[in-house]
């Protein structure tokens, strides 16, 4: 949309000025395609092609290590719903794990960062500094925070349990080895790690809300809560929609935390869908089955995203 206005601004004025000569600054389309070409080659090779290729793979019994890759139609998908198949119980267990993680982490990652952003959306000395401090863990990758928290929360040797024990609380909580503690750990670490990201996005949104709206609300004489409900929340709606959809997608993508902190324990109960897909496809090399799982998960996410969009639309009217 923005592209249209940017384009339509020039030609009429230019044509008038250029008079009989007519052709001013109109570069041929070839130039444009040349500018686009390098990106498009990479994009087509590593985004467009694999998006389609994956679908093709999912329709085959595609074992990376075997020469023959027979076409099997929808069998890989059917197997995911057939309780007699080898993948059935592991697949649904891993999908449940991802579901539990998403269900608990998304509300926390929507609410806590909003509180933090409201806290930071005032003028005080050191604001930029504190914002940077709260954001800092996000700059580190999942590998660093994974091995770090694995150590800190080690049930026998970690500092959390030894401090808890020293102050008279139970010092033997199995943070990484038993339920429900493993979920508390995975959700807690993820919230700690990524809340700065959402807070920064909220903060940018809060700063876009015109100050006059707050002043008007104050004149109308509502309290702080009314101000929040009638000015802040509506003003944040587009940002809130983005943060919600993005947080759901990121949570459903969870991999590294489980891989490093709980290693799927206890048993395979905290092994997420992505961990299972990666294992089936890239460790056991059963790529057809893994591709089918990844498309099914994508379909689930698409439905969830559409529902979120709907909910935000309804609130509008």
């Amino acid at each position: 949309m923005a592209a249209e206005t940017a384009l339509s601004r020039t030609p009429p004025a230019q044509a008038g000025e250029a008079g009989a000569g007519g052709r001013v600054r109109r570069t041929g389309p070839l130039t444009a395609y040349l500018f686009l070409l390098p990106y498009f080659v990479v994009f087509a090779t590593f985004v467009l092609a694999p998006a389609v290729y994956g679908l093709w793979i999912s329709l085959h019994d595609w074992d990376y290590l075997l020469p023959g890759k027979p076409f099997v139609g929808l069998d890989n998908y059917k197997a995911l719903f057939d309780s007699n198949s080898a993948v059935y119980s592991f697949w649904w267990e891993s999908l449940t794990a991802t579901g539990i993680f998403t269900l608990f982490s998304v509300p926390l990652l929507l609410s806590i960062p909003l509180l933090l952003a409201l806290l930071l959306n005032r003028s005080f000395k050191g604001r930029t500094f504190f914002r940077a401090v709260y954001f800092a863990p996000y700059v580190l990758g999942v590998a660093v925070i994974g091995v770090l928290w694995r150590f800190v929360l080690d049930p026998n040797l970690g500092v959390v349990n030894s401090v808890l024990g020293a102050i008279g609380l139970p010092g033997d909580t199995p943070w990484t080895t038993a339920l429900p503690w493993a979920w508390v750990t995975l959700v807690g670490v993820t919230v700690w790690w990524t809340l700065g990201f959402n807070a920064v996005i909220y903060l940018a949104g809060l700063q876009d809300i015109p100050r006059e709206l707050y002043e008007a609300a104050r004149i109308d004489g509502g309290g702080k809560w009314a101000e929040f409900r009638h000015v802040t929340l509506p003003g944040l709606r587009p940002v809130l929609l983005f943060v919600t959809v993005n947080t759901v997608l990121v949570s459903a993508n969870m991999f590294g935390q489980s891989y490093l902190i709980t290693q799927g324990a206890p048993g395979t109960e905290t092994r997420t869908a992505i961990m299972y897909i990666a294992q089936v496809g890239l460790s056991d090399y059963k790529m057809g089955s893994a591709a089918a799982m990844s498309y099914l998960l994508t379909a689930c996410l698409l439905v969830i995203s559409l529902i979120v969009f709907r909910l935000f639309k309804e609130k509008d009217s």
């Binding site: 395609y33 500018f35 806290l119 005032r122 943060v243 790529m287 990844s294």
Partner: protein, 274 residues
């Protein structure tokens, strides 16, 4: 805006800061402890016998070539940042300023892929990378990631916000599109290019799932898969693992300190794409 009571206010802010900083400080302190002290009960805060033993262990083991991992991480992250800047800026310029058939379609296609979850692409991309002979090489970490739509989207938005007068003046002086792009648009876009470079570097530096599956030989690893190896190899020798984590953290924390406003800017913008 609103007045705040300084003492209570800063107590809250500093208390919160500890939550985020303490675990990182713990990583730093542990890296300089002996394995015994790192897991002592009750724990010691400062190393009682400070030692670089963990680093010596790390550097002395051929199976965990941490310096090589560090170098690979630098090469991959820098290589990808450069590649992203080159291809994304050109494409974004075409989409923001040039007129051609199929523009809407191409832009729509690029935007639509922002919603493709990355895990769907991993398995087919493994096979594509394999076909190009890039498995177990740094190329696998540099090139596919440059296809992301964020860079194009982000720079296009920025180019659209630039005033057109300078470009029009360049046209009157007889400049062609390439000259306008390199001499007018790019110099005006330094903050946006810096933002994109920093974000690309950080993303690539921290990438975990892709490198653990496309790299096989220890000497090809970057730091994140390397840390997973360290965790497996040293299990409860935590100072060694924390030393490795420190090596992976310091460059990005320094980069964040120096380029903080670019990082924050990039993240803030990502929310405005909705």
């Amino acid at each position: 805006m609103r007045r705040v009571r300084p003492i209570a206010w800063y107590t809250v802010l500093i208390g919160l800061s500890l939550v985020f900083i303490a675990p990182l400080v713990w990583m730093l302190l542990t890296a300089f402890k002996t394995p015994g002290e790192a897991t002592r009960v009750p724990p010691t805060v400062l190393p009682q016998e400070p030692t670089t033993g963990a680093f010596d262990t790390l550097l002395g083991n051929d199976q965990t070539p941490v310096l090589r991992w560090f170098l690979n991480s630098v090469l991959a992250a820098t290589g990808q940042a450069v590649l992203v800047l080159a291809v994304a800026s050109m494409a974004a310029y075409a989409l923001a300023r040039l007129d051609f058939r199929g523009k809407k379609l191409i832009f729509g296609m690029i935007i639509a892929t922002l919603f493709i979850p990355s895990f769907v692409l991993i398995i087919p991309n493994f096979l594509i990378v394999d076909r190009f002979g890039m498995l177990d090489t740094l190329w696998a970490l540099i090139i596919p990631g440059a296809a992301g739509a964020f860079g194009v989207f982000f720079l296009r938005q920025f180019f659209l916000s630039l005033p057109k007068e300078l470009e029009e003046a360049a046209v009157l002086e007889g400049a062609n599109s390439w000259q306008i792009f390199t001499r007018v648009v790019l110099p005006l876009s330094k903050p946006a290019l810096a933002t994109l470079a920093v974000i690309s570097f950080l993303t690539n530096w921290n990438d975990f799932i892709w490198p653990i599956y496309v790299l096989f030989s220890p000497e090809q690893f970057t730091l994140p898969p390397g840390l997973a190896i360290l965790q497996g190899a040293y299990t409860i020798n935590y100072p060694v693992i924390m030393a490795g984590a420190l090596v992976a953290s310091i460059p990005v924390l320094l980069l964040f300190m120096v380029a903080q406003r670019y990082v924050i800017e990039g993240v803030s913008r990502s929310g405005l794409k909705g």
